[in-house]
């Protein structure tokens, strides 16, 4: 159940990325108009733009926050072949009065010879590290040896991926059992090169990143990739935005001997595959407990995916980006039948529809797509649901919610 709030972003061209900070109170947007804006959530719950500045001399593809332990730090990457690190400066009194903050550039990373398509900070337990990937297929890992000095970054690793890279994602697991791992997606449009997602793992012995896995079943251009927050799991979950949404599960296989030097072998399972966006999927994002996946595609919709108790993923909600005043008031409420906590999962599972999706772990991705076709749209699930009198209060609420969303879905 969401309330859609439209924000007048006032970017002069496309917005390519939005990013929440660690504590969820700040947001950064970047755009082709070469600027980055920082939004702070005020006490009134509204988002206020507290900084907007020109960051690059080309489209800014991505913006990302560092862990707040390192200060208020942003990194951005751009078509102009650079990535930059920015830090917020406090103490400018006249800026503060206007509600504006001041960001200064700490460094520019100029190693790439082509457009830098993604930038990500490594998980905090690895220290202050920054990763970029570029259109010529090189992933670069930088480290700030002194976390107090954000203007010094040394290039630690260069991984050549052969294919033009579009997105990267760090495995967030902080477990000592999981060596640092990074997944790289390629938007190379040549479908004959298969394996558009490569996974690299740090090898303690060689002190290098080595390819651990290539997801050969991904043959179409990949636009976004996201590891789910690990939260104590022994395996890894990876969401991929390509021509459909895919969720992979990577189970580390037990090593034969503790000191074997090769990269970890993974058992790769396709957990789900959905083409209900009916178009290119541009973004995937996990919620903090990794129970909910959001994806957005060329259909202009955000779809929410959730696994039920059987690891059976399905759509639990569709959000239209109708915060715009075109379709009426900006406070237009888009209520949804989404569920977030494991304990409440059972509420959505309708009597007649639950079992139909039963499938164990899929062996081939094709099976996944076939099953995805079987899924009725969520609105259908709602209607099948037979109200149980003992849960009348909850249901009333949910049906009320439906009556709001249904016009939005069908018009």
């Amino acid at each position: 159940m969401f309330v859609a709030k439209s924000i007048a972003a006032d970017h002069k061209d496309l917005i390519h990325d939005v990013s929440y900070d660690f504590h969820g109170r700040r947001m950064a947007t970047c755009s082709s108009d070469q600027s980055v804006k920082v939004w702070d959530k005020g006490d009134d719950g509204e988002w206020h733009c507290t900084a907007s500045w020109k960051t690059h001399s080309g489209s800014v593809w991505r913006v990302t926050w560092a862990h707040p332990e390192f200060g208020q730090v942003l990194a951005s990457c751009s078509f102009d072949r650079t990535a930059a690190v920015w830090e917020e400066i406090v103490g400018e009194s006249n800026d503060k009065q206007r509600g504006q903050s001041h960001w200064i550039k700490r460094t520019t990373l100029v190693d790439s010879r082509t457009s830098v398509t993604d930038v990500k900070f490594a998980p905090k337990h690895m220290g202050l590290m920054l990763t970029t990937c570029s259109a010529d297929g090189v992933v670069r890992i930088y480290e700030a040896p002194d976390v107090m000095n954000l203007s010094q970054w040394s290039l630690q690793h260069e991984i050549s991926c052969k294919l033009s890279c579009s997105c990267i994602s760090w495995n967030p697991s902080s477990s000592r059992a999981h060596p640092p791992m990074i997944a790289v997606g390629s938007d190379d449009s040549n479908v004959t090169y298969s394996g558009k997602v490569q996974i690299y793992e740090y090898n303690e012995n060689t002190r290098k990143y080595a390819k651990a896995e290539t997801l050969m079943t991904v043959t179409d251009p990949v636009h976004d990739i996201a590891f789910a927050p690990n939260l104590g799991r022994s395996f890894h979950v990876l969401a991929i935005a390509t021509k459909d949404v895919r969720i992979f599960k990577l189970l580390p296989m037990r090593r034969e001997s503790a000191n074997s030097s090769g990269p970890t072998k993974f058992e790769v399972q396709v957990m789900a595959q959905f083409d209900s966006h009916n178009s290119q999927v541009w973004r995937v994002s996990w919620n903090i407990t990794s129970t909910l996946l959001a994806s957005s595609g060329d259909d202009g919709c955000v779809r929410l995916w959730k696994a039920n108790y059987m690891d059976n993923w399905k759509c639990t909600g569709i959000l239209r980006g109708d915060g715009s005043p075109v379709n009426g008031s900006s406070g237009h409420a888009a209520a949804l039948s989404a569920v977030g906590i494991p304990g409440a999962a059972q509420m959505v599972v309708g009597a007649a529809s639950a079992g139909r999706y039963f499938f164990p772990h899929l062996d081939s991705p094709r099976a996944g797509s076939r099953l995805a076709h079987l899924l009725p749209p969520p609105s259908l699930i709602e209607q099948i649901y037979e109200p149980d009198p003992s849960h009348a209060p909850q249901l009333r609420q949910r049906h009320a919610a439906n009556s709001i969303i249904q016009p939005a879905e069908h018009d």
């Binding site: 969401f2 309330v3 972003a9 929440y20 915060g323 977030g340």
Partner: protein, 777 residues
């Protein structure tokens, strides 16, 4: 393509290239678009443009020892006289060439009036014999090709001239750009003074180009990486468009037949050629990425054909680029941004056209036909060329905020973290408390788990009292079946509910029932065993106070997801229907079950143990371990860690250290995200992993100065060993502070927290009277 051939008539071809012998400095194309001249320091050749490749037609560098006059900085082919070329030599000479000369040396005229490199030569677009040059020495000269010397000399008095261009529409006007950032407009008849001058760029202006149609528009490019379009037709020169590129702009050329398009290339770093739509100045409309070194010359092949671009480069190649082969950066640009916030809110930015597109999200399976609506014959429409559309676009940003109390939000996590008790009370009370917390937050599964844990690991209560109570209680309950059986089943049901998927639990229940039947033991006695019974009683005794509530141990209805029928399963046992009064079945439809071998195995092992007279807590450890893993894998690391802490030694040895550490780290990280510092600290304190506990012992050293003598405090005592006074005296009450000492980072005065807080309510100044306006944050 159709349009193109109509416009240009003869121009056709494909993307092609040829190797030159040497790097090119400039290229120029002849009027009918069939030949191109390439000039450089060591090259001066004419190539014919064939359908499928370049063909070398003529080498103009002749003679055994070519003079410096052949070393060209610029070249221009006359647009009216097809045999006439002019080059600007690096030694300051301006040379004209006549291809009609019968001998091998085509050189016609030589003007050596400039003292330094000539950067640019330009023929008048309509006047055959007029040639203009601009040089590094700061002068521009106009030549009449019928005379041996220049007709007039223009002194910019600015600095070196980088470009000169005759206006296409105004007969007498030309523009010149300078290294100091100025652009001047001159009238060819008035060599004494420029008509207009304005500063166009910071740093050198390397190039300029008049718009082929718009009389007043001039595009300029500079080292400041910008391309600016100026409107000269007004009284004040006005900047109407500005394009920011990623490298200094060496050349700029308006695209024919496309009013708002221009092509640029750079002289450093960047080897690509960009075509921009000036109305959307941020993303290149098209990019040609073939060159491996700096592109030095670009020219549109035909003045009325927007699809062919020729370029020469320092990498010694000459390219013909086809527009259809250009890469379009905007196609690869991501039109959407999406991010989940910490509290379950979702920020979403998308191209406005995507959001307003009339799409029905309901019909998922429908495919859109590429040819558009089938009702109309396709040839009725003159489809606009999609590849040439590059309208101004913008994105809409919206935040979907999770409503308070909704299931997508994270309130439950914060509430749970704050309300759970992890230590400080007896085990049973902790479990009971946490069960209540979970129940209050509408998390029945977790609540049940806590209750179960209490039952399993608690010390046995007084047997006589509880057995009595057991009977009473059972009388109140709608348990028609044997009490003991139900309790027993229930214990495992609930327990497995957490351990496994809810699905399998349901089956497990049935299996229990089935086991009972197959073994022919209707009596409940076999299912009763001493400790377990006491455990159950313990449950009741704990619930004693709030009997009025619904039975705690009843699994909420939702916990039983309804099982579908698997048709192809051969032996679906259906024992349930026989006991319609059984509480597990009430409220559910008739269901058939199936069991995987694994499940039945686990159940069998359980049911075997049911007969054992004693059931020590240790018996449950493997199951509890499995349950904790289950919670962790479901993303509820909070539950895993909380149980781990509350159970303490009872379970700790069962789970390997690394996993525990991983859980702790994950939970602490989550708590810190939500700024639940106190809870996080408590968890760190209560943890038993070495790696976690030491988190609290890092960065705990504070170096302080004595508040009297301002010197560093060396020893660990309270007294400064220099001034022999107590260092940490409260500035308000003048007593030594033991415990929390809060101080201002500006003046370093401070004291008891409550004293300082009280003081600051009344005064902004430092309580020590030092006059500092203190800030305690």
């Amino acid at each position: 393509m159709e349009k193109m051939t109509r416009v240009s008539g003869t121009v056709s071809g494909c993307t092609m290239f040829c190797h030159l012998d040497a790097p090119a400095n400039a290229i120029s194309v002849c009027r009918d678009a069939t030949q191109v001249v390439v000039a450089g320091r060591n090259i001066f050749k004419i190539y014919g443009l064939e359908e499928d490749g370049f063909v070398e037609r003529l080498n103009l560098r002749v003679g055994r020892k070519p003079s410096l006059n052949f070393s060209c900085a610029d070249v221009m082919w006359h647009q009216m006289e097809e045999n006439l070329l002019a080059t600007a030599a690096t030694n300051g000479a301006v040379v004209t060439w006549n291809l009609a000369r019968p001998c091998r040396n085509k050189q016609e005229q030589l003007f050596t009036e400039h003292k330094r490199t000539v950067n640019k030569v330009c023929f008048h677009p309509t006047e055959v014999n007029m040639l203009l040059s601009g040089s590094q020495d700061g002068f521009m000269k106009c030549f009449d090709l019928r005379k041996k010397e220049s007709v007039s000399t223009f002194s910019g008095q600015s600095e070196s001239v980088r470009d000169v261009q005759f206006s296409i529409k105004d007969y007498f006007t030309f523009a010149a750009s300078f290294e100091n950032g100025n652009v001047q407009l001159w009238d060819i008849r008035r060599p004494d003074r420029y008509e207009r001058m304005f500063t166009a760029h910071t740093g050198p202006v390397f190039c300029c180009d008049w718009h082929p149609e718009d009389r007043g528009w001039l595009a300029t490019g500079g080292r400041d990486k910008m391309v600016k379009v100026w409107d000269m037709s007004t009284n004040r020169v006005k900047e109407i468009y500005c394009v920011q590129t990623i490298a200094s702009v060496a050349r700029v050329k308006w695209r024919p037949e496309r009013r708002y398009h221009l092509a640029t290339c750079s002289m450093m770093v960047d080897h690509n050629i960009y075509v921009w739509d000036v109305r959307r100045p941020f993303i290149p409309f098209a990019t040609f990425e073939e060159h491996k070194d700096v592109t030095t010359g670009i020219v549109w092949r035909h003045q009325h054909d927007p699809y062919f671009l020729l370029s020469g480069s320092k990498d010694s190649t000459l390219y013909q680029h086809m527009f259809k082969d250009a890469s379009r950066p905007v196609d690869r640009a991501n039109p959407e941004g999406l991010c989940f916030g910490l509290f379950g809110d979702l920020a979403f930015a998308a191209k406005e056209s995507l959001m307003s597109a009339p799409q029905s999200v309901g019909d998922v399976g429908r495919k859109t036909y590429p040819g558009g609506d089938r009702r109309y014959p396709i040839f009725f429409f003159k489809k606009p060329d999609v590849t040439e559309q590059f309208a101004q676009v913008s994105s809409a940003l919206s935040v979907f905020e999770s409503e308070a109390g909704s299931s997508v939000g994270m309130d439950w996590f914060i509430n749970t973290a704050q309300s759970y008790l992890l230590s400080g009370k007896p085990f049973a009370e902790l479990c009971e408390h946490n069960a209540q917390v979970a129940k209050r937050l509408n998390r029945p599964q977790e609540s049940t788990t806590w209750t179960m844990l209490r039952i399993m690991f608690s010390e046995p209560a007084n047997p006589s009292l509880s057995s009595n109570h057991n009977l009473n209680k059972s009388g109140n309950l709608p348990l028609v079946n044997s009490v003991a059986f139900d309790h027993k089943t229930f214990t495992f049901t609930l327990f497995l509910a957490a351990r496994k998927s809810l699905q399998t639990v349901y089956e497990d229940v049935f299996l229990c029932a089935e086991n009972e039947e197959t073994e022919g033991s209707e009596g409940q006695a076999e299912y009763l065993f001493g400790d377990a019974e006491l455990d159950d009683d313990d449950l009741y005794s704990m619930e004693h106070d709030n009997q009025a509530e619904e039975p705690e141990y009843l699994l909420p209805q939702e916990a039983f997801p309804l099982r579908h029928e698997i048709m192809d399963h051969p032996s679906a046992p259906e024992p349930v229907q026989e006991k319609p009064e059984s509480p597990h079945v009430s409220g559910s439809e008739a269901e058939s079950t199936c069991l995987t071998p694994m499940e039945s195995f686990s159940l069998i092992s359980v049911s075997q143990l049911l007969f054992s007279p004693h059931l020590p807590p240790k018996f449950f450890c493997p199951i509890v371990k499995e349950m904790l893993c289950y919670y962790a894998e479901q993303g509820d690391v909070q539950m895993a860690v909380s149980v781990l802490i509350v159970l303490g030694d009872r379970i700790r040895k069962e789970i390997d250290e690394l996993t525990q550490e991983h859980w702790y780290m994950s939970y602490i990280d989550l708590l810190q995200r939500f700024e639940l510092w106190n809870v996080s600290n408590e968890v760190i304190k209560l943890s038993t992993c070495g790696a976690i506990m030491c988190l609290n012992q890092t960065s705990t050293t504070l170096h302080i100065n004595c508040s009297n003598c301002k010197r560093p405090m060396s020893n660990k005592g309270w007294i400064c060993d220099r001034c022999h006074q107590c260092a940490s005296v409260c500035a308000v009450c003048h007593h030594v502070v033991k415990g929390l000492f809060v101080w201002c980072q500006g003046c370093s005065h401070g004291g008891h927290l409550e004293h300082v807080m009280e003081w600051l309510k009344q005064s902004k100044h430092c309580p020590a009277g030092c006059g500092h306006l203190c800030e305690y944050t």
